[in-house]
């Protein structure tokens, strides 16, 4: 299974095997990664699953839809060029080793 590496604001990283097709958000919740809140359940209504995607991987992701782009405008920590909502990133074999960094806060 592809691996996803979650890096906490303090710099601690955890590597998790994620089934293909699972979102980066769902895998975080399932594996007890603090720092992903996912208040709306993954429907692009809140920004509480915001992550910064490592630059090496960012361009490999399908581009964000308008709904996701809009949500990034309200993130608790201001968006950066590599900001994404982890509920919109589905893990694929191509993304093996994906690194996402968690913001200081989600609300």
């Amino acid at each position: 299974m592809p691996k996803v590496i979650y890096v906490s604001p303090a710099g601690d990283s955890r590597e998790i095997e994620v089934a293909t097709g699972t979102t980066v958000m769902a895998a975080a919740l399932k594996n007890g990664i603090d720092g992903i809140v996912a208040e709306c359940g993954g429907v692009c209504m809140c920004s509480t699953c915001h992550v910064f995607v490592d630059e090496k991987f960012f361009s490999r992701l399908p581009p964000a839809q308008d709904t996701e782009e809009a949500v990034l405008e309200i993130s608790a920590v201001e968006r950066r060029p590599t900001s994404r909502l982890s509920c919109q990133i589905k893990v694929t074999a191509d993304l093996d080793g994906l690194i996402v960094r968690l913001p200081e806060k989600q609300r």
Partner: protein, 414 residues
């Protein structure tokens, strides 16, 4: 010896209170008590992806089962709280056991309003609130062919869209003159009526159900007060909810349209809070005391109460927002439109990109958006910060709302 925090209700509000208390560094014990036999789960998918089959229980759990033990949250699922003793600070459970508290959070939610007509008890009349009801509904949808939905609000229309997508014959009966009339402007109601009609859903407004008839105990027809009849083998009822206030009422707490709380979401007993669907609270955006049924309200009120209990009190000031998914269209709503006396629009229904801006006199109070997500998200900032926006500016597409918001945010504040 401290008794810690006890939370009654395992919905979104109860769950979030427990999770936020730990996130806030609360060190005492946390007990989360719920009537349902399941671990806390999300309700919104129950009328959308869950009956469609695109989400299962595991994908709607708010957190996996081990979350509770991992965070020292004592989850008691499948037990009803039957009484509060405010003198000894104890909650009595149906089993007779008693749980002592220092702080008590009532997140008891709401229950479905029942259809008050003859025949409503027949087999084939279903309501939707809980997971168990959603499982039953999903099962019945497999074999049902003719579905009548009573109630043209969010839940009724979401279910109508699901049933239609599953290839069923669907009729929606709404008593009021238009769909979702309690919350949205006529232009939005009309848009949704057309959306449903184009997909093949038959929509009737001003339709008062007077009776449900059946044979051998099973539903057969829905009769309206004007004599019209609709045959049905499954009837889905979504006509609103009633707040679960009885536990608080029986303990002598003040009740209005729900459990009455102050701006700190505290009842008249300073050690007892009420949040989520069951709580009537003062809302600065509505300029009134209101009760809301939404994920946002549940989660934000939970966060507010958790901070208060963890000694970081602040009044509840979060902006209300909502959404509904019907077919491939998401309606995003921000603010409280109640009491508005002027609306202006951006976009139009024909392009399926439309925002409606609601004003109370000159004050922007709410925005509803269809396929204009940036209007919604920037709109939340405009509403939360009370950024001045005139109706003319709102209607003028050349006025960039994001720029307007940024300019306001960067102004020096007195």
């Amino acid at each position: 010896m401290k008794n810690g925090a006890v939370i009654v209700g395992t919905g979104q509000a109860g769950f979030q209170t427990a999770a936020s208390l730990r996130a806030e560094g609360f060190q005492e014990s946390i007990t989360l008590i719920g009537e349902e036999p399941h671990i806390p789960y999300q309700r919104p998918p129950l009328s959308k992806d869950f009956p469609l089959g695109t989400q299962d229980f595991e994908s709607i759990e708010l957190r996996p089962k081990n979350f509770y033990a991992d965070h020292q949250i004592n989850l008691i699922a499948g037990e009803r709280a039957t009484a509060l003793d405010r003198t000894t600070r104890q909650v009595t459970l149906a089993s007779g056991s008693r749980v002592p508290y220092d702080e008590l959070v009532l997140a008891t939610g709401a229950r479905n309003r029942l259809l008050p007509v003859k025949g409503a008890e027949l087999d084939g009349v279903l309501y939707l609130r809980s997971l168990d009801e959603a499982v039953a509904l999903k099962e019945r949808l497999k074999t049902a062919q003719e579905i009548v939905v009573i109630g043209g609000g969010f839940v009724g229309l979401e279910l109508a869209a699901v049933a239609c997508s599953l290839g069923k014959s669907v009729t929606v009966l709404e008593a009021l003159p238009r769909l979702m009339s309690r919350v949205v402007a006529p232009i939005i109601s009309d848009f949704y009526r057309e959306l449903h009609s184009n997909k093949g859903v038959k929509v009737f407004c001003g339709a008062y159900v007077s009776e449900i008839t059946g044979a051998s105990g099973a539903v057969q027809e829905v009769a309206l007060s004007d004599g019209r009849r609709f045959s049905a083998d499954l009837i889905l009822v979504g006509i609103g909810v009633v707040p679960n206030s009885e536990l608080a009422r029986d303990a002598g707490l003040r009740i209005s349209n729900g459990i009455a709380v102050n701006e700190h979401l505290q009842t008249d007993d300073e050690n007892i809070f009420a949040i989520g669907d069951c709580a009537e609270h003062p809302c600065i955006f509505a300029g009134a005391r209101i009760r809301l049924e939404s994920v946002q309200n549940a989660a934000d009120q939970a966060q507010c109460v958790a901070a208060t209990i963890a000694s970081r009190p602040a009044p509840y000031r979060a902006l209300p927002w909502f959404w509904t998914d019907q077919f491939d269209i998401k309606l995003q709503m921000a603010g409280i439109s109640h009491g508005h006396n002027r609306i202006v629009t951006r976009g139009n229904p024909e392009s399926r990109k439309l925002s409606v801006f609601y004003f109370r006199e000159t004050q922007l109070v709410a925005i509803d958006s269809i396929n204009r997500p940036l209007d919604h998200m920037i709109g939340r900032k405009l509403l939360a910060a009370a950024v001045p926006l005139t109706p003319d500016q709102a209607a003028d597409e050349s006025v960039d709302l994001k720029q307007l918001e940024r300019a306001f945010a960067s102004q020096p504040k007195p």
